[in-house]
Symmetry: none
Subunit: 221 residues, 4 copies
DNA sequence: GATGAATGAGTATTCATTCAT
DNA sequence: GATGAATGAATACTCATTCAT
């Protein structure tokens, strides 16, 4: 069929890469349109394959969506753990380093897309929520826990529950990440750098041992 | 209710209420399924009208969606400003009061749904984003600004930019609101009350004047 | 509701005129859009009544359509017969006069619309076709018959079957009438007057007694 | 036909033929119901394909309609020009031959349908009108022009403007063609053959050189 | 493996018709 | 009589999924 003499590109389309090509295309298309509005045909086109080919690797649209979330998230997590610096320096510096790394990740367009999808559509897939909880929330929390606990132990931070503190700082970055891709940032002349510094400033202030005495016990109003 | 022996409701046909009936149904259905996955027929059924009736009041699905967002958001805002207490008591108490009121709003199921939709789908409607910015973000910010500035002036808070501080506390509640409707809360045995206290605790600590000296200047790592 | 003292217009909307108002509106709307594409709401609006009112006078859309055709056609016919001059002058002049009158009728916008509808949609209503045949075709033919027969009798025209001759001249005007509302006429710089003269010229030439000998017997090819 | 024991057709899937299959079905269904009343599903069924398949080849209903008109008309024209006999014999014979060929075309059921649609609905599509003018009216006129001019030159016909004469004979056949599919023909016991002979008879009489002197100058009445 | 033509269930939208007021 | 809000059947069009090649 392909003729007598091979003079084809050495390695054209490697079949082993197919699934990843499709997943990459899926990130973009699902990210831009959401699950329901994304068209398989667009994903196929962007992946450079035909519509039918997708079905060789994924049983249906929903499975493709879930696999895309799962795989993207896992990728990012594994990178996180791999990249995480050896514990050295002050807890403050460690936390700042970790969060800086993480903020950089959150600001990547592909993360943005996934994040938005997770917020918007994940509720409908309880299994994915489960997976997300176990693989993302818990693992990330464990990393932060360790760093914050160290700061508490060393007296850098006031004595807090590390899990709660981790959730607090995560919440700030998470919301800012969702806001960042709107025009709101331009209007306020915010940059990623400014936002990062602001969030870390407030976070570290909230952990300051000196602040403990100054804050009155919350009187229920 | 239906009278003594009326086999049919005495007063059907309340055209003035139709649009609101439909919008209420739309909140639920759009909230559960998103824009693309919501079926007009479900909205009609839930509103107790026929499919065609929706088109007497809204030109199409997208317009219904946008009007629903717009109207819900405006409702909530007007309530906010109407309910906002006269400024009395310490700034700390005032902020706590305001945020408590607001957190209660955010936890309402209808707000949850709208919030999720705003995050998930608003990007596709620039006009709505614009509207949201002007009517929600800015107005809410102005309210917070005033309260925080008072705390700064009175020495209750360290000297901060009120707008930034407002954004910080908003970010924490916003993210927690999105997380709250997942099962994560159950797993961590969090309640609305606990979360509220935690967030306010961290926020007020971060504003503590005593904390200023204690936090080292951020050294770029 | 209407207040205490009557000072309403003396004779507002006379109920007896309702059907005609509706039929007039129907001519325009059906004429512009055809049966299927015409919307009852447009007809109602144009007639200055509500949609429901139409159903007080006509059982449904199709009946309205048929009645509109029927009534318009009858109107025109009765006018024709009423206006037809007493037979005086040469047959040529009589025919020319009759056709001139008729051509003027055909060029009226309302006739145009009806004509187009008759051609386009009448097939689907056999009863209307029947009616049309009896009331329009036959009656018109009878009028023409008389005039042409007189010309044959007087020797002005060659000896022809008047019915056939009537059909021939009718065909020419009918087609030209359909063509006249297109831009074709502009392109050829034709006016109603020119077309009328051309058609009559050819028709009278075809009836010229002198022409009889000149035309060879048709050799089947 | 289907082979000896094949329970399924051996060769389905002939994509090259799809568009034509659909267009053929469209002629019938549009022809019977008009543009607005035709249902795509009927066309699909008649073409032996599914509803969706139509959309693989035509972007929407209107485009299908226009393409059907365009293609049918073009087909007929090309055939006309291809079939047109080499000029030989008398002009009278040539015209008769041409018109006979053309009348046969006009009497075909598919032409009838198209003709009716053209009259009834074409006004709404100015582009199609334009196309029709250029491709049909003008081209047909050019063919007739040549033949009639020859007759004038040879003295067979009286000195007329060939374009006008062509329009006159066209008008007669056109109207008769529209009338022919009604029951009027039966009632008058007309056949295609009789009508053809009648029209040609009147047309040739109207062109007779001998008739010139006999027809009085039209006196405006 | 890969393709893309074909399918048809699913949905937004329209509009003739009804009927409570 | 008159209204116009309400209905829901009807229909164009989409797109995930299949399968012959």
């Amino acid at each position: 069929m392909t003729g007598t003499d091979e003079h084809e590109p050495k390695w054209r389309r490697l079949p082993e890469e197919r699934p990843q090509q499709i997943l990459d295309a899926a990130i973009e298309v699902f990210g831009d349109h959401g699950l329901a509005d994304a068209r398989l045909e667009d994903i196929a086109k962007r992946a450079g394959v035909s519509k039918g080919t997708i079905y060789l690797y994924f049983p249906n649209k929903e499975a493709l969506f879930k696999e895309m979330i799962r795989q993207t998230v896992i990728d990012q997590l594994e990178q996180t753990e791999r990249d995480l610096v050896n514990d050295r320096g002050s807890a403050t510096d460690q936390v700042r380093l970790f969060m800086r790394w993480w903020w950089a990740l959150m600001r990547r367009p592909d993360y943005q897309r996934i994040h938005r999808l997770v917020v918007g559509e994940l509720q409908r897939f309880p299994e994915l929520v489960e997976f997300f909880w176990d693989e993302v929330i818990v693992r990330r929390q464990l990393l932060l826990d360790r760093l914050i606990q160290r700061g508490v132990d060393s007296g850098e931070f006031r004595p807090v529950d590390p899990t709660t503190a981790g959730r607090i700082v995560t919440s700030m970055f998470s919301a800012h990440s969702l806001w960042a891709c709107t025009r709101f940032y331009e209007k306020q002349e915010l940059t990623d750098e400014i936002v990062f510094d602001q969030v870390m400033d407030y976070f570290f202030h909230s952990l300051s041992p000196a602040a403990v005495l100054a804050v009155a016990a919350p009187g229920r109003s």
